[in-house]
Amino acid sequence: KRHLAALVTKRRRHRRDLGEAGHVAFSKNVLRWRLMGEGYSNQLSIEEQRYIFRLAFRMWSEVSPLQFMEDNGSPLEDIDIRLGFGTGRHLGCNQRFDGSGQEFAHAWFLGDIHFDDDEHFTAPNTGSGISLLKVAVHEIGHVLGLPHIYRPGSIMQPSYLPQEAAFEMGWMDRKAIQNLYGACKGRFSTVFDWIRRERSPYGQVVVRFNTYFMREGWYWLYENRNNRTRYGDPVPLRIGWRGLPADGVDAYVHVWSLKRDDVYFFKGTQFWKYDSDNDKVFGQDPEGHRYPRKISEGFPGISGPIDTAVYDRRDSCIYFFKNTLVYAFSVESNGVAPGFPKAIQKAFPPVSGGDHPGGNIDVAYFSYAHNAVFLFKGRRFWQVVSGRDRRRRPFLPRNGLLPHKEVDRHWFDICDVHPTALTL
């Protein structure tokens, strides 16, 4: 068994590469894992063990560009990370377990994780014992290349601390893994702040917003105050946004004025009206319109597909972006405003030199958290000059685009997971 392990060692060494910071790391983004059949625990059902490991891998996926898939079919040499339970002398490993107490698991540099089955491992949120989830997350961290981290709150602390009620990946651990593998980057289909009304405990109506990022058929809720996405995201679109196309949308528009409060989603040549009070699309709205409708019927002069759109309260216009042109649609007159369409570069001129997205904008997003409009293209965004910016610096052009920045440096950790991990 040791000889075989040595042979496998030599082959696996080729899978490692230098990561972003010059440390050794996996050189591919999708990694396969398997709970070994000869290494099941005697303490939990097999299905429980696999579920916990799926969750542990997904937690790393949520904060890094890595994706993990459970693979029980491929040849063993194609499996990147193998997990198993054992006691004493176990699984061909040359590091013996010590029995109940002290060492509870170890991970080998080449991708194997062993758990000491003499320890009392338990499922998450079980009162006593050692949380298998917490140990698994820790050991996976080692396999990915992280050393021990001696900071309170880090999952990579060497000693086991009883699991708190909310065990999640903190800022320190996120940055540590991203130091090896980079931050999460990618284009978005649309980004928006969704307004909804709620009643306070005193019966008052309060207005709240939440920020959403959508990419194809998934979405994330972004917590601006915590600089991260909601724990457990992304979520399939069909779960959180009933009635929308499962493969995603092109744009979101909220027309909000004294007279109107309408939310629209656009996809291809069609659009849907969203019932925010009941959290689903209208099949038929109070005016009698059935959805989906053609964009050209609801917005005369505009034809789909569009790239993106955003509502500007200052002039009560919806700005539709399509290729290199932008159309200003007046909701008051229900038609395209005079002088439009215009080239995007003219309607939104660059503030400095040629720093401009050009055309084919991915997202036009008004943020209540920042009180600003942003245009996204690829991994970059440009902030639109606001009235307040022009009062401070009158030389700035109206609706000018400030120099670009990187999306992942402003909105953090919006990471994909493997499609098989979307629903655990």
Partner: protein, 149 residues
């Protein structure tokens, strides 16, 4: 019948499991510190004698004994460094461990340090040492005894 409280008798299972050796004295502390990279490994003459008390069926140490007989140099008793040198190494390692663990840095094997060492922990070393614990098969095979064969 042994007393149990859990419906699935899982609290009984713990009593049946082999218990890890607790860290009780400076020697076992030294083993702990060398295992996790805070100091160089304890020398094998002493380790062999000690392990015979703990586990007679340790294949791993049997292999190590074989490698030693095949030519690995082991310092003779006369070549041992003066006890003060050993104590300094242990003290430095204890301080290192205490510092990383957020304990008062005393350099002594005190109660707080003993408690911290006996907590459940990960088996991956905290520090990398040059020649520590690398008893891979390839290294065993590279000794002069293999060349002779």
């Amino acid at each position: 019948e042994k007393l149990f409280h859990h419906r699935d008798h899982s609290d009984l299972q713990m009593f049946n499991a082999q218990q890890a050796q607790t860290i009780t004295d400076e020697y076992t502390a030294e083993l702990f510190l060398s295992r996790y990279g805070f100091m160089k490994p304890v020398r094998w003459e002493e380790t062999r004698d000690r392990y015979e008390d703990l586990d007679d069926n340790n294949d791993f140490l049997d292999d190590l004994q074989a490698s030693i007989q095949e030519g690995t140099s082991v310092p003779h008793f006369r070549d041992r460094p003066p006890p003060e040198g050993e104590n300094q190494a242990l003290t430095a390692a204890l301080k290192d461990f205490q510092r990383l663990s957020g304990l008062p840095v005393t350099g002594a094997f005190d109660d707080a340090t003993r408690e911290a060492m006996n907590k459940p922990r990960c088996g991956v070393p905290d520090k990398e040492m040059d020649s520590s614990r690398d008893y891979h098969l390839a290294k065993m095979q590279s000794g002069p005894a293999v060349t002779r064969r």
